[in-house]
């Protein structure tokens, strides 16, 4: 213990007789665990907490012409005092102008509907992969991740060619005689749903696969053995036990979908007004950084609620698996 603290405080210059390598190994033995845990914390501090603090700070500032385009929160007054000015007007403004409320509800609705579709598509996929024999399973998992090898932007762009009124999909449906007039998908909410489901499907499939793969097949056999028909066994055994995966996958799709900018921009229409577009407009068109920051903060608060639900379910799950009440 003694040597450990000595080394950490003094570094290489500490006047200790033992060899530096011995001291390093003693230090690592006593503090190695903390060091390993420290790395992700440092990462979070630098790339999440610090930017978050900056955005939070800007959201309380006032618009100003200059570089940077906002006022300082702290000012040194003439009589030598610091003056702190917190402008809440940016947040009040979000409620004043209905476009923000509309954008938020639009974002939440589109993200929720897309998540539901992603779950409907992703669950059978994950189930099929989990039940597949070992060889094909690896290939199938690889195929799920494969789209990531192409640029996200290009993949979303490619959907324009598929969905537009004289695109692949409409031409195919017309030539098969299923429809007479082309469907308007591109430029509507449906284009956005398709884009989000397509782009975020792997985030739904992978956690679902992870939980379904762990599911002991003898549980289903036991259910069948006790007189339970397959469909009911799915509802009473598979679904409840897959819940952590369903929640994790849904969060991973829902949270980024709320703030999605590229997909509604390329596949949505003028009326698909989501929070990502608002952010873009405030930052780059209006150059009103304080309001843009307030928009970002409000979105974060909106997303904290589902994250809390997720954490709560996880904690409950861990409690059930632990020693118990």
């Amino acid at each position: 213990m003694e040597a450990g603290t000595g080394a950490s405080a003094g570094g290489g210059a500490a006047p200790v007789r033992t060899h530096w390598r011995t001291r390093l190994s003693v230090y690592l033995n006593t503090n190695g665990r903390r060091l390993v845990l420290g790395v992700p914390y440092l990462w979070l501090l630098l790339f999440f907490l610090l930017p978050f603090a900056i955005v939070l700070k800007i959201s309380f500032a006032e618009f100003a012409i200059g570089v940077p385009p906002y006022s300082d929160l702290l000012e040194l007054t003439q009589d030598g005092y610091f003056r702190l000015t917190l402008a809440l007007s940016n947040y009040a403004y979000l409620f004043d102008d209905p476009q923000y409320v509309i954008a938020y509800t639009n974002s939440l609705r589109i993200a929720a509907v897309s998540t539901a579709f992603a779950l409907l598509v992703g669950f059978p996929m994950a189930y099929g992969i989990a039940k597949a024999p070992k060889g094909p399973r690896t290939i199938l998992l690889f195929l799920v991740v494969l789209p990531f090898w192409t640029s996200f932007l290009i993949r979303v762009y490619a959907w324009i060619g598929i969905l537009k009124s004289n695109g692949l999909l409409n031409n195919l449906l017309i030539s098969l005689g299923i429809i007479d007039d082309p469907l308007v998908i591109l430029g509507s909410d449906w284009g956005v749903y398709i884009g989000i489901v397509y782009s975020y499907l792997p985030f739904m499939v992978l956690p679902l696969y992870a939980t379904l793969e762990k599911l002991d097949p003898s549980l289903l056999e036991a259910a069948h053995d006790l007189g339970c028909r397959p469909w009911k066994a799915f509802l009473t055994i598979t679904l409840p036990l897959a819940l952590p995966g369903i929640v994790a996958g849904s969060m991973l799709v829902f949270i980024p979908a709320v703030g999605e900018f590229v997909i509604p921009e390329l596949l949505g229409g003028a009326d698909t007004f989501m929070i990502g577009r608002v952010l873009w407009n405030e930052f780059f068109l209006n150059r009103d950084w304080p309001v843009a920051s307030a928009v970002a903060m409000a979105m974060l608060i909106l997303l904290v609620a589902p994250i809390m639900i997720f954490q709560h379910i996880q904690a409950k799950q861990a409690d059930g698996e632990g020693a118990g009440r």
Partner: protein
């Protein structure tokens, strides 16, 4: 199925009567599960290779064999989780080929217990009853009855992961018995328990089987377990049933070398049948100094190769040369394994063959008994060896 064909089907089949089981006071009924020439292949691998077997109502049957012998596959075909590649399984005289597991009147206790982790103990036990649409009050009293049977009343509200291994095993048993199945299939029910608990649970299982009268089919790899619990034991090897008998008959009269060696420990001598009379046979075994004289007739032809199986507890050790010209050989005590109630002496014969002899430790001190490196004679009575020809 019309009445006429049903009657015909019954009259066509031979009437099977339960076998006489020595030492068994239970009254066995007609066959409840009939396995007819069942073959099961997984790709190129033949797991079950033409097994025919009748399970009689009320009996406690053990399927015994090493890993990969096909015993679990056979059990899973009774439960309906596997379909026979050839042959068929009948339960209560009805062909089960197209009957799904959830429609069969049997229940299974899984080796892993397969308890539903998200349900409490009572919900687990109740699960099968719910599927049948049993009214709530009836369900509750049945669950209470099952909990009492396995002495888990206090743990009704717990989740499976809050129980010990032994308690989980009892929940699995209660869940499988709750529906009062015609047959309970148990796949290695005790393999996850420690030795002490396993011995106690063996007796519990026997008691529960006797009390409920439900037919039990147990898969196990443990020969002692099979001997303790079963009315009849079926020994399986490479997809075959080698022998099916009461434990005592199996031990004293094995049909094959495999059974003799698998079911308890044995000294095996290969030899030639030199004298084949209805009342006795003489076997010339090169590993022994004198021939083996067996005091009864055996099946086998003169000049053929046979094996004489000699149980260690039927071998005695003496220090003076016997005054007869058969059933003994001389050797040196190489090792003594003290097992508490008995000791096993390993005697090396001149031929290099090692013979095991088990002697009861009647006296506390070992004064006067043979010890390491003593020159001794191994000997046995005329009725001790069992002769098998395969």
């Amino acid at each position: 199925m019309s009445m006429a064909t049903q009657v015909k089907a019954v009259s066509d089949r031979p009437v099977k009567t339960p076998p006489e089981i020595p030492g068994c006071t239970k009254k066995l009924g007609p066959p409840i599960i009939e396995i007819e020439k069942v073959v099961k292949r997984f790709g190129d691998f033949v797991a079950v290779n033409g097994v025919s077997l009748d399970v009689f109502e009320g009996e406690f049957l053990c399927l015994l064999g090493g890993s990969g012998c096909g015993k679990t596959t056979l059990l899973r075909m009774m439960a309906g989780f596997e379909q026979p590649s050839e042959g068929r399984v009948l339960i209560d005289g009805k062909d089960m080929t197209d009957v799904a597991p959830y429609d069969r009147p049997v229940n299974m206790m899984f080796q892993s217990y397969a308890l539903f982790p998200h349900m409490s103990v009572e919900r687990n036990i109740e699960f099968g009853l719910r599927q049948d649409g049993m009214p709530k009050a009836e369900r509750e009293s049945r669950v209470a009855e099952m909990l009492a049977m396995v002495q888990l009343e206090r743990f009704a509200k717990r989740k499976p992961n809050q129980l010990s291994g032994g308690q989980r095993q009892r929940v699995a048993l209660a869940r499988a018995l709750a529906k009062h199945p015609r047959v309970l299939l148990l796949d290695e029910p005790l393999s996850a328990l420690d030795k002490k608990l396993r011995e106690r649970t063996q007796l519990d299982l026997v008691n529960i089987q006797e009390k409920t009268g439900i037919t039990f089919v147990v898969v196990t790899h443990d020969q002692e377990e099979a001997m303790t619990m079963a009315d009849r034991v079926a020994i399986m090897d490479e997809g075959w049933i080698e022998q099916i008998d009461a434990p005592q008959s199996m031990y004293e009269y094995p049909n094959t070398r495999f059974v003799a060696e698998f079911f308890g420990s044995v000294n095996m001598f290969e030899g030639t049948l030199v004298e084949d009379e209805p009342d006795h046979v003489i076997i010339e075994a090169p590993e022994l100094e004198t021939p083996i004289y067996v005091g009864h007739g055996v099946s086998g032809r003169e000049g053929g190769t046979v094996w004489a199986a000699l149980r260690p507890e039927k071998v005695t050790l003496i220090t003076e040369k016997p005054d007869r010209d058969s059933n003994w050989s001389s050797g040196v005590v190489k090792d003594i394994v003290y097992l508490g109630s008995t000791s096993t002496y390993i005697v090396e014969l001149a031929s290099g063959k090692q013979v095991r002899a088990t002697l009861a430790n009647h006296d506390r001190d070992m004064e006067g008994r043979v010890t390491w490196d003593d020159k001794v004679f191994v000997t046995w009575t005329d009725n001790a060896p069992v002769v098998v020809s395969s």
